[in-house]
């Protein structure tokens, strides 16, 4: 049984027009810009909130592979339901767990166990991704704080039971000037807060995107999460968890889009044959399936690494949050091209596709833009490069790659900002294991790339760290993320048991990784046909496109 079977059953048949949580109903809610109430009710019945609360506090959160599988299933149904009901509360809660001891832990747990939501209010228009510059002030006054300023485009801020607010507690520049607060919406003094209208958006239309103006809003000191000045530190530690979780969740969108595209290509006939018979269409479908498998594998290994190598999470999180969302958005956009006009119409058989195209777009810029992830990687690459240059490849524990191997609890206190000078995923031996047919040459190319990258990382100049890094340095960081994704596939293949990696999937994913490194590397006809056979077989037999972990 897969982890998400029960939840998927609760959501019912997506194609049933009468199902209040089927595609048709999700689309209606989107058209009206309304919350999908029945969807939220079912997720509440399932106790999704309890999935975000650590087991020692009465919840069901033990390891994050389960959390990813559950949220992925919701995203595969409706990304707006997933963001508006699930992911947002998880992002907020993780800040509280990362902060360590304190009464607010109990309170956050009780909100989620009591079927409530928590909003996560970081964003201000004026500062975007640059959270170290956030302005909303929490000025220490009379033993408490007085909040003045704005938060904008924040999911659920107008309706969540609790709100996590990132605020400036010192006017001085530097990383010790912000703190986090957990506020109860019902206790906010009338007159001291003003709610914004719902921000209209292209996609995620049933998500409540709001804002708040604080005008000398008094908050008692007990509402502070962690110590004063710890805000940025807590954020950077908790983002390691959420940046690792989110990519695996987002693959649900590409999974659904690919299923719909395959169905379309199988059913539609042109020039006297099904569209799927056209070589160019076959190429697009096979490429995107390879991308999905690569993204999925990297995302899964990253989540396992979070538990097994938490000291390295700061690097893995940035890498996976860059590459996977980028591939997912590109994949959905490519499939839209394949569906042509059908991907553009808001009614009819394929109308759900245009909703996916709109809902997927924030993947690359929401919760840490991809480009800012590459920027933070640049800080770590010189040391990683030096170590890789001086040492032989080595194997980390095989639990990293075995989807069903038990994981240790997450060691929150070991999530540091230092990163260290080793990345075990980057150092993985690649060519000492028999690979699926047609992969050896591809993996040799990836290994050669890694060797040359290690040299170039070691030689990165100080100018290439920080926001002013050159374009060529960003490209070096991008290639790093691709090597990690390819290594994840090789690792899973090496440690496979009979049913968690098949040769077709591994070959497809690795060929696509090589293509991301070198655009001239196209998929061979053989790999393409194998992938398409696999995909169509799975579609016809109602099996999953990716085997569940």
């Amino acid at each position: 049984m897969a982890v998400d079977d029960e939840l998927v059953a609760l959501l019912g048949n997506p194609h049933d027009p009468e199902n209040p949580v089927g595609y048709r109903s999700c689309l209606k809610a989107d058209e009206r810009g309304e919350i999908l109430r029945e969807g939220e009710r079912r997720l509440t019945d399932f106790g999704l909130g309890a999935e975000f609360v650590p087991a020692d506090m009465g919840g069901r959160l033990r390891t994050l592979d389960r959390t990813v599988a559950l949220l992925r299933a919701v995203y595969a149904r409706d990304p707006a339901l997933g963001l508006g009901f699930g992911l947002t509360s998880l992002i907020a809660a993780v800040n509280v767990w990362a902060a360590g001891e304190g009464a607010l832990r109990r309170e956050a747990a009780d909100v989620l166990l009591g079927r409530g939501r928590i909003a996560s209010a970081y964003h201000e228009f004026a500062h975007g991704s640059d959270i170290a510059a956030a302005e909303l002030a929490a000025s220490p006054e009379c033993g408490g704080y007085v909040l003045t300023g704005h938060k904008e485009v924040v999911t659920n801020i107008g309706r969540a039971e609790a709100i996590l607010v990132y605020a400036r507690t010192s006017p001085a520049p530097g990383p010790r000037s912000h703190s986090l607060f957990l506020l109860r919406s019902a206790e906010l003094p009338a007159g001291a807060v003003r709610r914004h209208h719902r921000y209209p958006s292209v996609g995620m239309r049933s998500v409540q995107l709001g804002g708040l103006d604080f005008d000398r809003c008094r908050v008692v000191a007990d509402r502070r999460v962690g110590s004063e000045g710890a805000g940025l530190e807590i954020a950077l530690r908790s983002f390691q968890v959420t940046r690792t979780v989110i990519p695996g969740v987002l693959t649900g969108i590409l999974d659904t889009a690919l299923r719909m595209a395959l169905r379309y290509a199988l059913d539609r006939r042109l020039y006297g044959r099904p569209v799927i018979a056209l070589p160019r269409v076959r190429a697009v479908l096979a490429d995107v399936y390879g991308d999905l498998l690569l993204a999925e594998t990297f995302a899964r290994v990253a989540v396992r690494a979070l538990h097994l190598l938490p000291e390295q999470a700061v690097m893995h999180a940035a890498a996976v949050k860059y590459l996977v969302p980028q591939m997912i958005v590109a994949g959905v956009n490519n499939l839209a091209g394949l569906l042509g006009g059908s991907s553009y119409l808001r009614e009819g058989e394929h109308a759900y596709f245009q909703k996916l195209v709109r809902d997927v777009q924030p993947s690359t810029f929401g919760h840490a833009s991809g480009i800012s992830c590459l920027m933070s990687l640049l800080t770590y690459l010189p040391a990683i490069g030096r170590t890789a240059r001086q040492n032989r490849p080595r194997l980390p524990t095989e639990e990293m790659f075995r989807p069903t191997a038990p994981l240790p609890d997450l060691a929150w206190e070991r999530l540091g900002l230092r990163g260290g000078d080793v990345d075990d995923l980057f150092m993985l031996p690649l060519t000492d294991v028999p690979l699926p047919e047609r992969c050896a040459e591809v993996v040799e190319a990836i290994e050669a790339e890694r060797t040359s990258l290690a040299e170039r990382y070691a030689g990165l100049s100080p100018e290439d760290r920080g926001a002013a890094a050159r374009v060529s340095a960003y490209e070096l960081a991008r290639r790093y993320t691709i090597v990690l994704a390819a290594s994840s596939c090789v690792g899973v293949w090496r440690h496979r048991t009979s049913n968690d990696a098949n040769a077709t999937a591994t070959a497809g994913a690795l060929v696509r990784a090589a293509h991301l490194l070198d655009r001239n590397r196209e998929m061979s006809t053989q790999v393409r046909e194998n992938l398409l056979d696999e995909a169509t077989q799975r579609i016809e037999s109602h099996a999953r496109l990716c085997d569940p972990g």
């Binding site: 990383p175 010790r176 940025l232 933070s376 770590y380 010189p382 900002l417 230092r418």
Partner: protein
């Protein structure tokens, strides 16, 4: 790993070394970096603290977190912290 010279790292040496690293990262001359001015005034951001941590490790064999630099945000404070750690052994 480069050679570690921790045996006779006098106060002056650690301090000078720290000042020089800050100067290099922020493109100042070491003479322009005052010992008691917050490092962020010179443009040393939270990411550069990661790089500085690794340099502290290479030079003194001390493993520290970037937050240690955040909490000792001047040349004077950071040098004193490093010396304290070195004297504990």
């Amino acid at each position: 790993m480069p050679e570690q010279d921790t045996s006779n790292a006098s106060k002056q040496t650690v301090r000078e070394w720290t000042r020089e690293r800050v100067a290099v990262h922020t493109k100042h001359s070491p003479c322009d970096v005052a010992d008691d001015v917050p490092l962020y005034r010179y443009g040393l951001d939270s990411l550069y603290a990661v790089t500085l941590c690794l340099e502290v490790q290479e030079r003194f064999g001390l493993v520290i977190e970037p937050t240690t630099i955040w909490d000792n945000p001047t040349v004077e404070k950071l040098a004193t912290f490093i010396e304290g750690e070195l004297s504990v052994g």
